[in-house]
């Protein structure tokens, strides 16, 4: 199943992805990004907006 993978070691924890998520499926802690895969609709907004390409679509 297609889902969004987070490369947490590349992430700067800026939260830009959180703001563009239409279903509030992303949570940002001080140094950890978490996706709720039950809620995520794989719209790819977060993948597109990330300044550092931290998020990717995996098959």
């Amino acid at each position: 199943m297609k889902q969004i993978n987070i490369k947490n070691d590349l992430c700067d924890f800026c939260g830009t992805c959180v703001a563009v998520c239409p279903v509030d499926a992303i949570e940002l802690l001080e140094a950890r990004l978490v996706i709720d895969y039950q809620t995520c609709t794989v719209c790819l907004n977060c993948v597109k907006v990330c300044p550092l390409r931290v998020l990717e679509l995996t098959a």
């Binding site: 800026c14 959180v18 703001a19 563009v20 949570e27 001080e30 990330c50 300044p51």
Partner: protein, 392 residues
């Protein structure tokens, strides 16, 4: 942490500290929560502010100012430089010290501050927001409050939890990377902005000198263009071209909502301020002064609401109404202008810059520059007329 408060402010950036300061000054019992370990770090900001603006919101301290700016230079794709002697000359701040001191000033008013405090949910009573749930050093706390103020930045979820529409459209999100670079030689009195669809589509590159050999260099592009090439790739190319000797001391990513004002920024027991309320200028992305102005209003209204024992949406909406009255029109105008500017092709930008270069520099006011742009681009006339007719 087990106490109850009048007001809990989530996020200790300039907006959060300012709201907390004014609410406490007016007599409210205030708790300020910051998720990170240290206030002021990391600096996700170009750090430039206009002098008139910043003086409206705070008594400036010399130690907050890294550099004084005398003019802005707009640089076209072909390298033509348009120098603007803005009447509102500005500063490059030292945001680390600035944010730190704003929090200290709030503390001196009696605000309790807790860092490493991650707000993970809202408490509710009778349908209204009634406090927050916090994770702090391995413990979970439920802290009651009459009002929660969300100053939790671009990544805000406080508003969403309360049912407000805080989502930013992809095209309205400026996705940014910035670096602090040394080993550069710059005239320190100029802030440079590069406009070019090659260098920064739907956005711009900034070069803000902090002193003669240190600069904050960054780039923001519209989220709709970032899928093809991420901001980091654009910025690396620019720095390699413009500052081949640069040493990169800091690299930080971030996002700025350059969006229309939100329809609703308050609900029963809850207010949003700063980036969480999309209050940055949509054209420039500048948000420090605007968010602090809004936060002062919000903090004062919150304290009044506490005194009157009425924290309903209707009462808290006094803040939203004040903001609309003082900044609604200018926000909408900036948003329309952003749309117009980002429709320009690189040829448009080059021709505009060439035409402006013929105007004597002392007449380089913003109005003259736009008049010239108008003459160069008749097809933009409807947009630009709308922008000016929509003025304050």
């Amino acid at each position: 942490m087990n106490d109850a408060y009048d007001i809990i402010v989530v996020g200790a950036g300039p907006a959060g500290s300012t709201a907390a300061y004014y609410a406490a000054q007016q007599g409210a019992k205030v708790l300020l929560l910051e998720k990170d370990r240290e206030i002021g770090i990391p600096v996700r900001c170009g750090e430039a502010v206009g002098e008139k603006g910043i003086r409206q919101v705070v008594d400036l301290r010399p130690e907050w100012i890294a550099n004084r700016i005398e003019a802005v230079r707009l640089i076209a794709p072909d390298g033509t430089i348009v120098k603007v002697q803005h009447e509102d000359i500005g500063f490059i701040l030292d945001r680390k010290r600035f944010d730190y001191d704003l929090a200290m000033m709030a503390a001196q008013q009696g605000v309790k501050i807790v860092t490493k405090a991650y707000v993970c949910g809202l408490l509710r009573a009778n349908g209204a927001v009634a406090g927050v749930e916090v994770l702090h050093l391995g413990h979970r706390y439920q802290i009651p409050a009459k009002i929660v103020i969300g100053a939790d930045g671009v990544e805000s979820r406080v508003g969403r939890w309360a049912g407000l529409k805080t989502q930013v459209r992809l095209r309205d999100m400026e996705t940014c990377v910035q670096m602090v670079v040394s080993n550069v030689t710059l005239p320190r009195q100029y802030c440079d902005f590069y406009f070019s669809n090659q260098l920064a589509p739907g956005g711009y590159i900034w070069v803000f000198p902090k002193n003669d050999h240190l600069a904050n260099v960054g780039l923001g592009i519209s989220g709709e263009f970032a899928a093809h090439k991420p901001p980091l790739a654009y910025l690396k190319e620019f720095v390699a071209w413009r500052f081949p000797q640069a040493a990169i001391l800091t690299m930080v990513a971030g996002g700025v909502p350059c969006a229309p004002l939100m329809e609703e920024v308050v609900t029963d027991g809850l207010m949003l301020i700063g980036d969480a309320a999309h209050q940055a200028n949509p054209l420039t992305g500048g948000g420090i002064v605007l968010s602090m102005l809004a936060s002062r209003m919000a903090g004062m209204v919150a304290a009044e609401a506490i005194r009157e024992n009425n924290v309903s949406k209707q009462r808290l909406a006094a803040y939203a109404k004040q903001w609309e009255k003082t900044h609604g029109n200018s926000h909408r105008r900036s948003y329309r202008l952003k749309d117009a500017v980002y429709k320009l092709t690189d040829d448009d930008l080059n021709r505009t810059a060439a035409a402006i270069a013929k105007i004597p520099p002392e007449q380089h006011t913003i109005i003259n520059i736009f008049k010239t742009a108008l003459m160069q681009h008749p097809r933009l006339i409807p947009d630009i007329i709308k922008v000016f007719l929509g003025g304050n």
